[in-house]
Symmetry: C2
Subunit: 190 residues, 2 copies
């Protein structure tokens, strides 16, 4: 974290904690130790924990959807795009040490304020739309087997990667993710 501005450092550490333990599982005291400032100073950057959670979710959502956009722009078959998508979720596991933020926050959604819940809903809505688009494209280019209801298939796909993360996280074992998503990425040797 050399030379990094304090606010970004706080967000980085907070994101890691939230993805490992959920929002209720860490405190400002943890962040203070991580960043090397006094706990009370964190309130300068994030007056309340809810502000921090919102900033985390907004940052995560925009970064994630930039990645989705990049996958689209890069072109390739729909199957390749789906593969890249699954790879995003796999990478988010960091070897089984953490969940992606949307899953972590979904599980602890009772502790979230309304604006954070709204961001979370937007994350899911955007992801479903992106996936549905991929399945539609897959039907056109013949690279994916698509059932008659692409929105249901998009939902199933999102459920699968999120669930695969849960399984892998529980066991701290990425190979479980691979096993559970093999049908989505058939080009990989499993």
């Amino acid at each position: 974290m050399v030379g990094m501005d304090t606010k970004t450092a706080l967000l980085d550490y907070a994101e890691r904690h939230a993805r490992q333990r959920g929002l209720d599982g860490f405190s400002y005291a943890d962040l203070a130790r991580d960043v090397g400032i006094r706990k009370a100073s964190i309130h300068y950057h994030f007056p309340t924990k809810a502000d921090l959670a919102l900033a985390l979710m907004q940052r995560y959502r925009t970064q994630f959807h930039t990645r989705l956009h990049d996958i689209k722009i890069a072109g390739g078959t729909a199957a390749a795009q789906l593969d890249a998508y699954v790879t995003l979720y796999r990478a988010a596991l960091h070897g089984g040490t953490q969940l992606c933020l949307c899953v972590a926050f979904s599980a602890g959604r009772e502790s979230l304020d309304a604006p954070v819940l709204a961001e979370l809903a937007t994350f899911h809505t955007n992801s479903l739309a992106w996936l549905e688009d991929v399945f539609d494209k897959g039907q056109q280019d013949g690279s994916l087997h698509v059932n008659p209801n692409s929105s249901s298939q998009a939902a199933a796909c999102l459920a699968q990667v999120e669930g695969a993360q849960i399984m892998a996280r529980a066991a701290c074992d990425v190979s479980l993710f691979d096993l559970a998503t093999a049908n989505l990425t058939p080009s990989h040797a499993h």
Copy 2:
């Protein structure tokens, strides 16, 4: 809760809290209010919170696997058994107000002691074995389309229902679960 013994009442309320908010999201003070005894008295029944978590997981796992056993005993095609399985997960959502305990604990696994983690691992292992068995039977009785690797398909199926729970819980909307699991329960009108 009339006439119920205190220990069971504690477990019931604790399970609800844990499934709604995770283990870090509730405290003995919540349980004390729920059951109507002093917080310190809870330690008589569960000396530490880790003891409580272990008891919760053990109870949940044994009950869940009794249900799986019942589905098997009841007979019917493999497709009907898979349908019953998905219905278990759907019912566990309680209208979108909570997750099943294994998902809630998986997300917050960092806060769990080793014996609880072991129970959680057993839960997943047993569930996968049961599902794999169903897929094997489905291939024999022709009621399920099974790909060459039934263990991967079992893992995918488990991931899907767990992920579908996450999605439905985030939005407090069971219809998302239905949308995301439609391919597993084709006999239902979606």
